[in-house]
């Protein structure tokens, strides 16, 4: 099982991000981590939440454009050079990362990185072969 990411289209204007967070909050959707990719006109809010389907439902009701897709969540040692090592693995295997971001919470001495690939299965296979552990359930992450 992969981790499901919830993505939302927001205009780059005051109050728009706030509006999305309000809708999710009212439906008790808990955000575990988030990142925003922004351009001068719009942003894409990407989130890991405890209930992605519930999130989509709530947002659609309010005519907010959103989607879900699978991302790869990988545990990485929380020490210098370990993110480089992980990315090097993808580079060696010619796996192109679309974007990535980190979990805010740590698990002991590990950090969790979220990666978005075109070919998630190939990336998953690669990381498993290199001995990384793939996080598939996020409800253990304090959600």
């Amino acid at each position: 099982m992969n981790v499901t990411q919830l993505s939302v289209f927001i205009e780059n204007k005051p109050g728009h991000l706030q509006n999305v967070l309000k809708i999710l909050g009212e439906k008790n959707i808990n955000i575990v981590t988030l990142t925003i990719a922004e351009t001068s006109d719009f942003g894409i809010l990407r989130m890991i939440v405890n209930d992605p389907e519930g999130g989509v439902r709530a947002l659609r009701e309010s005519h907010v454009t959103c989607s879900t897709n699978d991302v790869l969540a990988v545990e990485i040692d929380d020490k210098p050079g370990s993110l480089y090592k992980a990315i090097d693995t993808f580079a060696r295997r010619k796996l192109n990362i679309e974007y990535m971001y980190a979990f805010t919470e740590k698990r002991g001495d590990k950090a969790v990185m979220i990666f978005r690939f075109d070919d998630i299965d190939a990336a998953k296979k690669a990381m498993t072969e290199e001995g990384y552990s793939i996080v598939s359930k996020i409800d253990i992450m304090g959600a």
Binding site: Q5, S7, F9, E11, T39, F42, T65
Partner: protein, 433 residues
């Protein structure tokens, strides 16, 4: 051809006839209508100065507002005793407009409609079911008397009551339906939903004479394939005479204007300058033979193009393209004429886009800026920025190649563009010129 002498007249002879008739029409309006006299005098024009067709540029324009201001009979140029019929438009703003006809005028009206029907191959053997509304609107009576003049059996059923329309098509052996294109499509829908047993292909119906509203080639294809008939366009304005100002022929490419009764010009809607044949602009009408209600250089606001080809049908009459827009809606962006409908067509070509858009015009550093806002729905959305940037770029590229304008494409959230029709919300012009 219903009237070969005029419909296939050599062009130089036709132009001579037009000059003579124009001279009469201008003189008639000037001498017999105080409004026209005042207008011509104010413009320094006198019909005696009309020496050739090139002098038309000195004749002042007639606007819709002039007709409203002269409600109801202020533009008539004959004594009321000579008027045998009036028609009136409902008009969406201000007063309605009223047009009048003498005995001769209703004869011309019937003649041009009869010619139109004949252009689709109709004869006295046809049965014409007139499903346009009968009444103040010119459609019903116009088609009625035209069909009678042709000698066809005329069925004056008027609009609506689709079940009865279907019954008469079958029982009376109707061969030609005259109605709006949207009503023709309604009939196709009705058969599909409520009368699957009704087989239009088993009736004698073979053609539709469709007009009174703009319609596209796509609508033509749909009507023809769903009903198994040929769909022809008939065009007209009540201000000019009604349906029959121009008509398609068997070639279905462009509409022949009945130039022996109507003089047409294409002008730049901004400057009023006459444009050369073949260029797109606003079409302006002048009646050549009408007595009760002369129409002199009427600004139709319809945008089209005029051209002469050697049409296979044998008519020498000039052709106009199907009307593509109204000059009311035209925007001039860095000198390029653009219609909101063209922007809509570009958007419709991009899969997943909705026909909701907003155009914002601004002027920065003395240059016009155009921004087009497009709503991002779930079909277009992606969690990747590059996909959305590609979308904006694709729309922008299409606008550049199709319309010749560089627009900034802004992706906006759904339901943020106002839904109502009309220029007010579609186009926001912030330019201070």
């Amino acid at each position: 051809m219903f009237n070969k002498e005029y419909e296939a007249m050599p062009v130089d002879k036709l132009k001579k006839l037009q000059y003579e008739r124009l001279k009469w029409s201008l003189t008639h309006a000037y001498n017999n209508n105080p409004f026209y006299k005042k207008k011509f005098d104010a413009a320094g024009f006198h019909p005696d100065k009309f020496k050739s067709l090139a002098d038309m540029k000195h004749v002042p324009f007639l606007y819709k507002q002039d007709m409203r201001d002269n409600y109801p009979f202020g533009l008539f140029a004959v004594p009321m005793s000579k008027v045998v019929r009036v028609h009136s438009s409902s008009g969406t703003t201000g007063n309605a407009t009223v047009v009048g006809y003498t005995k001769n005028d209703v004869g011309v009206f019937a003649e041009v409609v009869a010619r139109s029907l004949a252009a689709y191959g109709a004869t006295e053997n046809d049965v014409v079911q007139v499903a346009y509304g009968y009444g103040l609107f010119t459609g019903g009576l116009g088609l009625h008397y035209g069909a009678e003049k042709l000698g066809a059996m005329t069925v004056p059923i008027s609009g609506g009551n689709t079940e009865r329309q279907l019954m008469l098509i079958k029982d009376f052996g109707t061969t030609i339906m005259a109605c709006t294109p949207s009503y023709m499509l309604n009939i196709a829908d009705y058969i599909e939903k409520k009368r699957p047993d009704y087989n239009m292909r088993a009736t004698r119906l073979r053609a539709g004479v469709l007009g009174a509203e703009p319609w596209s080639e796509n609508m033509r294809k749909e009507i023809e394939s769903r009903l198994g008939i040929e769909a022809f366009d008939i065009y007209g304005l009540s201000e000019v005479i009604g349906p029959g100002v121009s008509t398609e022929c068997s070639e279905k490419s462009g509409l022949h204007v009945f130039e022996d009764h109507f003089y047409v010009e294409i002008i730049d809607p901004e400057t009023g300058e006459i444009l050369p044949e073949g260029e797109k602009g606003e079409i302006v009408y002048t009646s050549l033979t009408k007595e009760a209600f002369p129409t002199i250089r009427y600004r139709s606001k319809d945008i089209t193009r005029l051209y002469r080809d050697s049409c296979k049908c044998g008519r020498t009459l000039i052709k106009m393209e199907k009307v593509t827009g109204r000059s009311d809606d035209m925007m001039i962006i860095r000198g390029v004429n653009v219609f909101p409908s063209q922007i809509e067509s570009v958007l419709m070509e991009i899969e997943g886009t909705e026909p909701h858009y907003q155009i914002i015009l601004d002027r920065k550093a003395a240059l016009d800026d155009i921004e087009v806002k497009v709503e991002v729905n779930e079909k277009l959305f992606s969690d990747e920025v590059k996909v959305l940037n590609d979308l904006s770029k694709r729309i922008g590229d299409r606008m550049r190649s199709a319309l010749g304008i560089s627009a900034k494409i802004t992706l906006v959230e759904p339901m943020t563009i106002p839904r109502s029709e009309g220029k007010a919300v579609r186009v926001i012009d912030k330019r201070k010129i």
